[in-house]
């Protein structure tokens, strides 16, 4: 998929309106991350497609602070799906301060080492 995205980049960069967006994306998101985003969003889209409209989530929760920024990646997908179905947009919630909350969600196992990939 990385090659496919790189080819897309090359093609899009031929368009003057797209070139700055592509460059910006390359600057902030390494190709490996863009692959994960594409695969992730595709999988999420497939999941929504498999649901009946009444089963679409009424609430979307980002339980971890590290995942909050993904709101921006997930947003356009949710918008597309809910608009296509004519469904009410879901509410969003973010869990704040997980590590300091009374009911701690223990992220230290992978945060503490500063390494978030599996070992």
């Amino acid at each position: 998929m990385a090659e496919e995205i790189a080819e897309e980049d090359n093609r899009l960069e031929l368009d003057s309106t797209e070139v700055s967006k592509v460059r910006l994306s390359e600057r902030y998101l390494p190709i490996e991350d863009r692959v994960v985003i594409r695969r992730g969003l595709s999988r999420l889209f497939e999941y929504f497609e498999s649901l009946d409209s009444e089963k679409l989530p009424e609430m979307v929760v980002f339980p971890d602070t590290a995942a909050r920024v993904l709101f921006y990646a997930v947003g356009p997908v949710l918008k597309r799906v809910y608009e296509q179905r004519g469904a009410k947009r879901p509410d969003f919630r973010f869990f704040g301060h997980l590590e300091r909350s009374q009911s701690r969600i223990d992220r230290r196992a992978w945060f503490g080492r500063g390494i978030r990939r599996g070992d």
Binding site: V35, Y72, F92, S101, I105
Partner: protein, 192 residues
């Protein structure tokens, strides 16, 4: 979503306020009741401890009010398959299902902005970024032993320019939707 809506959203998210996760889950249950569907989205699922604890908190909230927890589905963009299997086969009563976007282990997934995402807010705009920088700089004054480390992080956050990152994420999402459309068209063409 416009800027003002986003600020409201951020305020609701409780940034800057100490909101125990248990309370947040009770709020969710109040709002969606037992007929609702909740989707939890995480960037990375390592070994399921988050799931287990969320499951426990939903269970506690449900038993406290004698209600059934909402149907909760957990999605992670990235997670090793072996750990996923472990998480899925655990004693998770209240998390209905778990799935991941990819199990690829090649990614540095969001390594570039991981640390800023860990901070207290997710920076809707530059003024948030400034607030974060000032806060960290204030901390540096009293935490000299970790000063260098924080300083590097603060510099890095400044360089990131969160609004550009947001644009990039949205752009990648739009491209993914276009890619899915074209793949669908191609499949339909192949079938025809």
């Amino acid at each position: 979503m416009d800027r003002e809506e986003f600020r409201q959203l951020l305020a609701e998210a409780g940034s800057g306020a100490e909101v125990p996760v248990g309370e947040r889950i009770e709020e969710i249950m109040d709002e969606v009741k037992d007929r609702g569907h909740v989707l939890m989205i995480d960037d990375y699922l390592a070994h399921g401890s988050t799931l287990t604890q969320i499951d426990r908190l939903f269970g506690e909230a449900a038993s406290k009010r004698g209600a059934v927890a909402p149907e909760t589905v957990f999605f992670a963009f990235f997670g090793p398959q072996n750990l996923m299997k472990g998480a899925a086969s655990g004693d998770l009563s209240y998390v209905s299902s778990v799935f991941v976007g990819t199990t690829s282990r090649d990614s540095l997934f969001f390594s570039g902005f991981d640390h800023c995402a860990r901070s207290d807010s997710f920076f809707p705009d530059d003024w948030e970024l400034d607030a974060f920088r000032k806060k960290k700089e204030a901390q540096l004054g009293v935490r000299k032993e970790v000063g260098k480390k924080y300083s590097q992080k603060v510099d890095h956050v400044n360089q990131l320019k969160m609004h550009e990152l947001r644009r990039s994420l949205r752009y990648e999402a739009e491209r993914t939707l276009d890619w899915l459309e074209s793949r669908k068209r191609k499949e339909e063409g192949d079938q025809a």
